[in-house]
């Protein structure tokens, strides 16, 4: 048998007595793509940190062989020299520098006193051509979209003579178009003999791209199988260790009168040429799940921000809640009126990382526990916290544990719990399942149906079309700030939505 490119044998890694990896072995040949699947917290990231040298040799048990040589890396620089490059979910580019400067950051060509710009320039052009990115090397990174930045990261890796590329959830914030480009690039790299470890929750991509699929659950290596022999359901049942009846547990529910009417919403950033929301009107019914689809930048999130009173630029919209006109100029006013929003960017707008899970959950409703003196009634508070944690199945050691220590899915559940405590009539969920594992997704869907049965109305913004179709009663599609289509869920396909989201011509 040919010698494998990468051979990780029996990797064991513990954190203060808790085993995060329990004897995981993977092998990978030149030009092969291996997808690593597992719920959040299953040990995927830890395994990749071991591989990339974030956890140095000696801090784990087991052996790693790369091109037949044992790897004893003391840091990420050592593995990069070998040709192992990891691209993290959060991109590590300097936004104020140009594409070229980013690609050569730390590896500048030329002498200390004078850089060889011409050489770097032409090399950058080559690299950009390789990732099919048609931009000038002098473009500032901040002018690029997330998808393009991702490609710049790959170009940067190529410059380091990469032999094994690790992509950690590269597509979680990309549009379908951008995903296609990225997958093409990875396929191209494959042909050049570059191997890839691909981490993603998006199983359709995993199956389309990989030669092998390795599943990790609770630190244990469940299996590595040829992708061709697997279906999405196979992978899911290996990941969760149980068979999910279906991905989207649609339950029938009553839909009532119009509860929220939004008329002529406009939103524009200072200095922008095009409004982000351009005269959008729609209605939401009681007990309805309204899905909002569209490409990133189509104005979905901004429209929600107009309703929740947190749009950062100029905006106006006429709102009617249960037939009564409503003015919302702040998040406080929205919550008071019974409109709550779980924000898209969990890290920036959701969690207070160093605070306990319980305190994060009650942040919106502290007034409810507060006496005349401003003192918090901690008994009532901890009672509510306990109820929320039980109801949403937030997995946490104690309610005092800092929320940053939880997995993405559990953080998301805690943030949803926070806004549910405000007893909203209307709950806006912006990308509610982004970057969270299948099990947690399923629980969140279940919760959404439980809520609409109680008469809550839900607006769900999502980039995952299967989710939009699988959960919504009705779907609105946005394109460049305008509403382009409205569909019932029955008979709705991803193609119909994409057509509507991409093309200028209205379909409806």
């Amino acid at each position: 048998m040919k010698q494998p490119l990468l051979d990780m044998r029996n990797i064991v890694k513990s954190f203060s007595g808790v085993r995060a990896l329990n004897g995981v072995s993977i092998t990978l040949g030149d030009g092969e793509v291996l997808s690593l699947c597992g719920e959040n917290g299953s040990g995927k990231s830890t395994l990749m940190k071991v591989l990339s040298g974030v956890w140095p040799y000696g801090s784990y048990d087991g052996e790693i062989y790369f091109q037949g040589q044992q790897v004893k890396a003391s840091g990420i620089r050592d593995t990069e020299t070998l040709g192992i490059v990891i691209i993290h979910q959060e991109l590590a580019l300097v936004k104020e520098l140009s594409v070229m400067e980013n690609i050569f950051l730390g590896n500048e060509l030329g002498s200390f006193a004078s850089l060889n710009d011409a050489m770097m320039h032409s090399r950058t052009r080559e690299l950009l051509a390789q990732v099919k990115l048609n931009i000038s090397p002098d473009t500032l990174v901040r002018e690029l979209g997330v998808g393009q930045q991702q490609l710049v990261e790959i170009a940067k890796a190529l410059n380091k003579n990469v032999k094994l590329l690790i992509l950690d959830e590269p597509t979680s914030s990309l549009t379908n178009n951008e995903i296609d480009i990225l997958l093409n690039i990875v396929n191209g790299l494959k042909e050049q003999g570059i191997a890839c470890v691909y981490i993603s929750h998006k199983l359709d991509e995993v199956l389309a791209l990989s030669d092998w699929v390795a599943v990790i659950r609770d630190g244990n290596h469940i299996a590595t199988k040829a992708a061709a022999t697997l279906t999405q359901n196979d992978i899911i049942s290996m990941m969760v260790g149980r068979q999910l009846d279906e991905l989207f547990p649609r339950e029938s529910h009553q839909i009532g009168e119009v509860i929220l009417q939004v008329n002529h919403a406009h939103a524009i950033q200072a200095g922008a040429s095009r409004p982000q929301v351009d005269d959008v009107s729609f209605a939401l019914r009681k007990g309805e799940i309204l899905g909002i689809a569209g490409l990133i930048g189509s104005g979905r999130t901004e429209l929600m921000q107009c309703i929740y009173g947190c749009y950062a630029g100029q905006y106006r919209a006429t709102l009617e809640l249960a037939g009564k006109p409503l003015q919302i100029r702040s998040q406080r006013a929205a919550l008071k009126a019974g409109i709550a929003m779980v924000p898209e960017d969990r890290k920036r707008h959701g969690i207070v990382p160093i605070m306990g899970v319980g305190r994060n959950i009650t942040l919106s409703i502290l007034d409810r526990y507060t006496s005349l003196w401003g003192a918090i009634d901690e008994d009532t508070e901890s009672h509510d916290v306990h109820d929320s944690i039980t109801r949403l199945k937030v997995k946490t050691a104690t309610s005092e544990l800092a929320i940053k220590n939880l997995s993405g899915g559990n953080q998301q559940k805690a943030i949803i719990a926070r806004f549910l405590l405000t007893n909203p009539k209307i709950l806006i969920l912006d990308e509610p399942t982004r970057g969270i594992d299948v099990g947690a997704k399923y629980e969140i869907y279940k919760l959404m149906f439980a809520l609409v049965k109680e008469g809550v109305s839900i607006i769900m913004v999502s980039s995952e079309l299967p989710e939009v179709i699988g959960i919504s009663d009705r779907v609105l599609v946005m394109h460049e700030g305008q509403l382009k289509g409205e569909f019932g869920y029955q008979g709705l396909t991803q193609e119909k939505i994409m057509n509507c989201a991409i093309n200028d011509t209205a379909l409806a």
Partner: protein, 376 residues
Amino acid sequence: MLKTIKTNQLQLLAMLAAMFLIVVFFSFATDGAFISPRNVSNLFRQTAIVGVLAIGMVFVIISAEIDLSVGSMMGLLGGIAAILDVWLHFPIMLTVLITMGAGLLLGLFNGWWVAYQKVPSFIVTLAGMLAFRGILVGLTDGATVAPTSGALGVIGQSYVPTGWGVSLVLLLCLGVIAKVYRRRQAQHKHGVSNSSAKFEYLNAVISVAVLLILLAILEGYRGIPTPILIMGALILVATYVAKRTAFGRRVYAIGGNIEATRMSGVNVEKNKMFVFGFNGVMVAVAALILTSRLGAGSPAAGNMAELDAIAACVIGGTSLAGGVGTVFGAIMGALIMSSLDNGMSMLDVPTFWQLIVKGGILLLAVWLDVKTKKAQ
């Protein structure tokens, strides 16, 4: 065993250990003069002013802001108090009320610029640092306003009568014990087994012991100094505000992640402005103690005091990134700083050395903090 102790408890232990080492070192170096009742009393009175400033400052820093104006503000408020007392012969209660009111207004003024006008607090309070000093010099014509009345002198110079002092401290000890007992009861009720129970008992025993020893020492001189009584009361109030009130909780949340807190429907602007307002009131209290102790309002009073207050907070484990810090830690920080001051002065260490040592300690404390956090 050590693993079960949480980070903040570890930090607390480290601070107590540092304090202990300082006390032991200076006691030997001064042949026991450092822990003589007279010196301890003196040391505490020195701590009171920085301590009260640190109580206000810790809230500002927890909310991820900074206030560089407190030194000048203390000078200005102390000057106002002196003017009311010496020139205008206002009754003491009125002087106190007006000074505190002025402190609140100056604090809210800073806070308004920071919270609503979005000017960085570093700049707003740097401007305040210059302007407040200027106003003080203008008001007093650059001259010392003296002598203050006997009534004003009570705040900074008097001692609590023995009977009152002893009863207050005993009451406090009872409070400490009752608190631990109640917590244990509550935990029992909720069925939570608590691994840190031993730590809690130990904590209570040490607290009571320290309180009683300090009481004994202070009563050995002239009793509890009034400024210490004031500081003690403010510690209790501020700890309560930080730990038990919605306002306190929100301040931590704002420092931890202001955007998430705003999205949760918290009025972050209002709360931030109030943090500065609260700080202003603390500065006013410190100013009254200062003017009373000096028996005069001086145009140079409070110079650079903001740096002592910030240093006390930081040594006490407050993070300049916001969201982390305790009132008790800040007070310990203030105590460590003034012990060094006091001890070195007793040993006739030249002033320049004192500054170098204090700077070194500040750097060392934060370095250790960064190191231990990284190690986890």
